[in-house]
Symmetry: C2
Subunit: 229 residues, 2 copies
């Protein structure tokens, strides 16, 4: 026993309901203040402060001070990745305790996964990029093919800027609702930003849902050659 890393430490960090709610809220990719997170978790500001200290100390959150506000965000993409995986397990293994309200449908269709697009539309986009060989596999993971580069430039993505970053361009992320892969990494992030910039989609203010306009969804399907559902 006692071999390998200490998974109990971070699992117990995620295991508290208040903290789990905070982390789930931060999966929206937005940095939130302590007050906002307190409300999100349904606890007072004092307890929230204690929880946030533990989460940052545990390496799960990153803190950015800005004036008299303290903005908290997930420390790294890895954290979001683990949380999304846990959601998948919670759905499959656990008896799913989620009120399937009106929001739920929207979440399953398109939502934010930290900083990129997930849900049905996210997995469809990934599938399309794969089948059309816009993405290809090499020893270091996934990368854009020539046709993929052309497509991204046509969509107005600044690939040079993305390549300059040290983080990976393309990463895979498992979708908890679809149980299939969607595109993460700096390209995944840039694409979502582009969709918003182009007016195709907008984020829901209070949830992880992403709302596509009718024209935006049409343009999205055309861009990635996705058939009508």
């Amino acid at each position: 026993m006692r071999e390998g890393p200490d998974i109990a430490r971070i699992a117990s960090l995620i295991g508290d309901p208040a903290r789990a709610n905070m982390l789930t809220a931060l999966m929206s990719g937005k940095a939130l203040t302590a007050s906002e997170l307190a409300q999100e978790a349904g606890v007072t500001l004092q307890t929230a402060s204690s929880h946030l200290a533990k989460l940052t100390d545990g390496g799960l959150l990153r803190l950015r001070k800005q004036g008299r506000h303290r903005y908290f965000a997930l420390a790294h993409d890895d954290v979001a990745h683990v949380l999304e995986n846990l959601m998948g397990l919670a759905v499959s293994a656990g008896h799913l305790r989620m009120r399937t309200g009106p929001k739920d449908g929207a979440l399953r269709k398109a939502r934010i996964c930290y900083n990129h697009l997930a849900g049905d539309m996210g997995t469809r986009m990934f599938d399309s990029l794969m089948t059309q060989r816009h993405l290809e596999l090499n020893e270091k993971g996934i990368d854009l093919s020539e046709s993929g580069v052309a497509l991204m430039q046509h969509l107005g993505i600044d690939l040079a800027a993305l390549r300059a970053k040290r983080s990976a361009l393309c990463r895979e992320c498992l979708d908890w609702s679809e149980r299939r892969t969607h595109l993460a990494g700096s390209l995944g992030r840039a694409l979502l930003e582009r969709f918003e910039q182009a007016g195709w989609a907008s984020r829901d203010a209070n949830s992880r849902a992403v709302h596509f306009t009718r024209r935006g969804e049409k343009a999205f399907r055309e861009a990635f050659s996705i058939a009508e559902p």
Copy 2:
């Protein structure tokens, strides 16, 4: 708030040190009895029994009764996948609390990840399969190319039997020590079994380490065209 699946439920299950030790022990892929798991976790049989009931009830473990023994195993590959991811996060985000003993080197070189090979040799094998185009990407994930099929047949893998199973042939799994991908899925499992069958490697009785014989390691490197370290 309260949107999405209940990650706190399973995270808190994993979050208890005793249970985390049990789950880590089960990452060896072996089904263990309640007594063995109690010893692994460092608790008495009574408390272990309580923990095991919670884990099975929570959908993380699967129970197989056999005579007067009760064998516990991870319920599904997904569970192992999440645990491996959590280990990666524990290493990167947490201050790593692991005694870096002699076992540690062996674990990093080659170890069991539930039912397939992980560690340095696992990631090298995956990299080799990728660069030599034995594996290729399609819309459904990874699959063997023609040359890959030939290689597996040469190695004595019964692909027809594997394809008959409903579970995926190839899956990716993130390595906590290498922080890179290695091969999971039924093929990953079959390959490890083949290595043992061929006398190339054997599992450590008390840990997740996999010991390759000198001849076995040489044969392994030749089979996958891996250069000397």
